[in-house]
């Protein structure tokens, strides 16, 4: 870190506006040059469109994800025909035991995954940034309390705890909302820790010290001086957090304590596919591929963004 300071001119030396605009343009150029990042962005866009227009897509296939079709099943409950019942009517085949259209389930599952993933990420980023920023900035007993709470929450066996919650949560509570809440409660400490340490470093920088000397108030320092310098970290962290949250929701649904039926969820379908691995592997393959590709797309985009923001070349991060 110490070696690159003489090369990169300190940001506040320039007038802020043109510098920021140039930074954004540079960022775009770097991102567009990275093939994997572009592929990731394309994948993310694709899944966002699928999630937003899920009813449209399933209408195109001619089925909704809730209606049973027992005619598509044999007497044992397995789908009739090749590849789990793939046909012109059922593009991805049907779900064993119920005959529900797997294409509709996978398409609507994107909605569940992305809503829960984005919701949990937004909530944990919001809490984490506010808490981390204020703790790093104000310090004192408040900072000590925050650090302690973060330590406890990071030491918490959260997956075990959330699975256990499945036993006591009243069924009347909307499960997806509960998932967002629980994932946010255990997601913000990591964000707060990173933001806090960066705030501590930024606080020592000349432009913050100068603002303070010029009589800037706490709010101005937090929102106009510190927060803009944390943008890169926040964007990269959020992009990497979304697939992690999608994965967490899918894992909980897989274990049967996440999104309850009949709401389509990739993780739950994969969990149900355990019993059918041998007789109907396609029931595993389609939801599994969707989950894998969505996670991969977000991860590729996140990696690309991180490289584009690279501190050694851009001077934007840290």
């Amino acid at each position: 870190m110490s070696t690159d300071t003489p090369l990169a001119p300190p940001a506040p030396a320039r007038p802020p506006r043109p510098a920021r605009r140039r930074g954004v343009r540079q960022l775009w150029q770097r991102l567009a040059a990275d093939r994997w990042a572009v592929a990731g962005a394309g994948g993310v866009a694709f899944f966002l469109v699928v999630a937003a227009a899920a009813p449209l897509f399933s209408a195109l296939g001619g089925h909704d994800p809730y209606s049973y079709d027992l005619d598509a099943l044999t007497d044992s409950g397995a789908p009739k025909g090749f590849g789990g019942g793939i046909s012109g009517a059922h593009w991805f085949g049907v779900e064993p035991m119920t005959g529900r259209d797997l294409f509709a389930i996978v398409v609507h599952g994107a909605r569940t995954s992305i809503l829960v993933g984005a919701g949990a990420t937004a909530a944990s980023m919001l809490i984490g940034v506010v808490v981390g920023l204020t703790a790093g900035f104000y310090g004192g007993w408040y900072d000590r309390v925050v650090t302690r709470v973060v330590d406890v929450l990071l030491g918490f066996p959260y997956l075990i705890f959330v699975i256990g919650l499945g036993a006591i949560v009243p069924t009347s509570l909307p499960k997806p909302l509960l998932l967002v809440g629980v994932l946010a409660v255990f997601g913000w400490p990591g964000v707060a820790r990173v933001v806090r340490s960066q705030t501590l470093a930024l606080k020592q920088r000349t432009f913050v010290v100068a603002s303070t000397a010029l009589g800037a108030g706490g709010w101005h320092l937090l929102v106009r001086q510190l927060l803009p310098n944390l943008t890169a970290t926040i964007i990269v962290y959020a992009t990497i957090k979304i697939p992690a949250m999608i994965g967490a929701e899918a894992a909980l649904s897989f274990l049967g304590v996440g999104v309850p039926p009949p709401t389509p969820a990739w993780g739950r379908s994969i969990g149900e596919a355990i019993a059918w691995v041998q007789t109907d592997p396609m029931f595993l393959v389609f939801p599994g591929a969707a989950l894998f590709l969505a996670t991969l797309a977000f991860n590729l985009l996140g990696d690309g963004l991180r490289d584009a923001f690279d501190p050694k070349t851009a001077g934007l991060r840290r």
Binding site: F156, P157, I160, A167, G247, G256, I270, A273, F292, L296
Partner: protein, 330 residues
């Protein structure tokens, strides 16, 4: 002396963290759901029987007394009920499952061999695979090997373990008929069967974690190889093997150990998923059964036990730091 002070300080904060976690867990699982006695009272549940059950389990006390009794049980053991019907739960008592008529500690101990077999084998495998691939990638930066390892690692990071596990079962279990598709055999009973049942779970867990470690190791190694002391080591004529293996690797291992400590702790969470995929009767299966039966004391016990493991792992990492990196000691 300094190390002793460090250890005692860390131990104190460990105990504090565990106390807070145990309080939260106890409040959430035992006091929020209303009446645990009702659940195990049976039907028809007369008011008298309910009161008896409540008194027997100690749920007639105020919440803080219940919690203190629970804490006391951890250190000194406790007895539920009195007279001929009394059950004793020896220390360390993580609670008593009235549904299974067994102390939670005993239930956990019974399942530990399964979960630890999965966890330890996978951890050893992924450390070797991940660190090895990372070092080779960094030393031969830009080579086909490097690109292959990094592509694989991006893919591996995005694949959920259960998906990979099920595909593994499908391919190596059902199609190729190479390994058993589920179950567990005790090591003491049949060592070969033990190994054979664990190969697939190990590989699945190891591949996914190795992906993360390969990236981490590669990044660190590239950074370290640019340092002055590496140039010095080369300048004094050391073999490249020694430069990388002795001088660089030691510095690379420090962040790897941090991540490893966190992963070891959360591996228990991962074990729940692995055990479900491969139908293995470990701690995860115990927890899922407890959730299915609403066996609250068992859920509290398993949660606390895993919190204990996580915190212990972090503590050990702190100690290892001091051995690997003398700079931290200052």
């Amino acid at each position: 002396m300094r190390l002793l002070r460090l250890i005692s300080g860390r131990l104190l904060s460990m105990v504090g963290t565990l106390l807070v976690i145990s309080l939260i867990t106890y409040l959430v699982f035992v006091l929020l759901p209303g009446d645990p006695a009702q659940l195990s009272c049976g039907r028809p549940c007369t008011p008298q029987r309910l009161a008896e059950a409540r008194a027997f389990m100690g749920y007639d006390q105020p919440w803080w007394q219940q919690y203190l009794a629970f804490l006391g049980g951890l250190f000194a053991g406790r007895t539920f009920g009195s007279g001929a019907a009394a059950v004793h739960c020896a220390a360390p008592c993580f609670g008593y499952s009235f549904q299974l008529n067994e102390s939670v500690t005993q239930l956990i101990v019974n399942r530990i061999p399964v979960t630890f077999s999965i966890a330890i084998g996978a951890a050893v495998l992924w450390l070797i695979l991940g660190v090895g691939a990372g070092v080779v990638s960094a030393v031969r930066r830009g080579s086909a090997m490097d690109r292959a390892a990094m592509t694989f690692s991006t893919v591996g990071v995005s694949a959920p373990s259960y998906l990979l596990g099920l595909l593994g079962i499908l391919l190596f279990g059902f199609t190729l008929n190479m390994v058993p598709v589920n179950g567990y055999v005790a090591l003491t009973e049949d060592p070969v069967g033990w190994l054979w049942h664990l190969v697939l779970p190990w590989c699945v867990l190891a591949l996914i974690h190795a992906a993360i470690y390969a990236r981490l190791t590669r990044g660190q190694m590239l950074e370290v190889l640019g340092e002055d002391y590496i140039r010095t080591a080369r300048a004094k004529g050391l073999r490249e093997r020694k430069v990388v293996g002795r001088h660089a690797l030691r510095n690379v291992l420090i962040p790897v150990i941090t991540v490893f400590g966190i992963d070891l702790g959360s591996l228990l969470g991962g074990a729940v998923i692995t055990e479900r995929v491969f139908s293995m009767p470990g701690l995860g299966a115990l927890l899922l059964d407890a959730v299915g039966n609403v066996d609250l004391p068992l859920i509290v016990g398993v949660t606390l036990f895993s919190a204990f493991l996580i915190i212990l792992a972090n503590f050990l990492v702190d100690l290892i730091y001091n051995v690997v990196d003398p700079r931290v000691a200052r």
